[in-house]
């Protein structure tokens, strides 16, 4: 057991748990952020994606102890931003959401990509989203959505 402090969706939090606990379980069970989903549980699908210091990670394989002092944002925190609104609208307009299971992870991956590269090419978007699986849409709609968000949200990233 160890006391681990970090920022979670803009709030300072502290929790006493094993540093090897999966960040995913802590976010869902201890903090009730259930927008973070478990798909594969082994880093392959991106359903559990969250941002650590603005960059995407798969929370199903992140050991809690590594987030000490870091800034974590889940889909719940991200959804309060203007950037989320732009992305979300673009996803809806382009038909990039069907069952919605992958969508939180896709939005987190898009945010992470745009943080690094505000005007990505199609190829760069493909690479940026390569860790996120979608069983419903073809990826084309998702790529289009990210492209459109990067135009409409010009200056936000």
């Amino acid at each position: 057991m160890a006391k681990i402090k970090f920022t979670l969706n803009n709030k300072q939090v502290e929790i006493e748990k094993s540093p090897t606990a999966r960040l995913l379980d802590i976010l869902r069970e201890d903090f009730d952020f259930t927008g973070v989903k478990e798909g594969c549980g082994e880093g392959e699908c991106g359903a559990c994606a969250v941002l650590i210091n603005d960059q995407i990670v798969n929370s199903c394989i992140v050991p809690l102890g590594t987030v000490e002092g870091k800034n974590i944002v889940t889909i719940e925190g991200f959804s309060k931003t203007k950037r989320h609104e732009v992305l979300r609208n673009a996803f809806e307009e382009e038909g990039a959401v069907q069952c919605g299971f992958c969508t939180p992870g896709m939005l987190i991956a898009s945010e992470s990509l745009l943080n690094k590269n505000p005007h990505p090419t199609d190829e760069e978007i493909k690479i940026g989203l390569s860790g996120n699986l979608c069983r419903c849409t073809g990826y084309n709609m998702i790529i289009k959505a990210v492209k459109s968000a990067s135009k409409k949200g010009d200056g936000l990233w």
């Binding site: 094993s18 540093p19 379980d25 650590i52 992140v62 050991p63 000490e68 992470s112 940026g128 860790g131």
Partner: protein, 278 residues
């Protein structure tokens, strides 16, 4: 279980010296290898030391004609760093996804010692030296002396990989290829790394290595030395002979003959394509 998050390298070395710990860096291998049920702790058979955030292990510097890469530098940090050797960048580009690369460390790719670890063929031909530290001493080992089999390393239990040291060199050609997709299981992946320096149409430097065709990365410095001094044209004229020599040296271990032949053929074709590109 005592799972600890030491704050300094010194504290880490003291703990490693006193107890029997497993080092956990980004966890992208270990958290999966020791995965348990959802909402339960991963099942490790040893106490864990988390080193991901140790400030003393996160750096990249250029000193004494060598690049020094701290062991917990993540693949994503390296991908975007201007000092990272181009060949390593090529390999990292096709490793995993951004989410994994944000946690996966270079030290962890070495520590996992998988024959399919993608940074390894690159580190072998860049003549990488691994700097290992314990409370008693610091020692340096060429990477090929550190990894001796799948998951097998010559690291003592009180030691940690501190950094990877890469001598600077200039090449006129570099190549990293991986056959078999990211999601394909290790069995179907074959990787190739090559560097060469050609001046006045003459081969001055030539190094190649193959990943996932044997228990460790395959490199043969003697065969490389044989082509130094040849003109590029000579090399291309004699390409079949050169390929045969390397081919004799590549002996994939596999029960299934077809798979073995396939691997060898793919490996040799990758070499051929590199030589023809010179």
């Amino acid at each position: 279980m005592k799972n600890l998050t030491p704050k300094t390298l010194k504290e880490t070395l003291i703990l490693l010296n006193e107890g029997d710990y497993k080092i956990l860096a980004g966890g992208t291998d270990l958290m999966i290898q020791n995965r348990a049920w959802s909402n339960t702790l991963p099942k490790f058979n040893k106490d864990i030391l988390l080193v991901f955030n140790l400030p003393e292990l996160k750096y990249i510097t250029l000193e004494d004609d060598c690049l020094h890469i701290g062991s917990t530098m993540t693949l994503e940090e390296l991908l975007y760093h201007k000092l990272t050797p181009k060949l390593l960048v090529e390999a990292i580009k096709i490793m995993a996804s951004p989410a994994i690369r944000n946690m996966a460390t270079l030290g962890g790719n070495i520590g996992n010692a998988s024959p399919a670890g993608d940074s390894l063929p690159v580190l072998y031909i860049l003549n990488a030296i691994v700097v290992i530290e314990s409370i008693e001493r610091t020692r340096e080992l060429p990477i090929e002396d550190l990894i001796i089999g799948p998951g097998k390393k010559t690291i003592q239990k009180n030691e940690i990989i501190k950094e990877i040291k890469i001598p600077m060199s200039n090449f006129t050609s570099i190549r990293f290829d991986k056959v078999g997709g990211r999601k394909a299981d290790a069995i179907s992946k074959i990787s190739f790394a090559g560097v060469a320096k050609v001046k006045n149409n003459t081969i001055q430097d030539f190094r190649v290595s193959f990943g996932a065709v044997g228990p460790t990365v395959v490199r043969n410095k003697e065969l490389e030395a044989n082509v130094i001094g040849l003109t590029v044209d000579d090399m291309k004229v004699n390409i079949q002979e050169i390929l045969n020599e390397f081919g004799n040296f590549i002996r994939p271990i596999d029960d299934q003959r077809s798979n073995k032949e396939y691997r060898k053929t793919v490996a040799i074709n990758l070499l051929k394509s590199f030589i023809l590109s010179l």
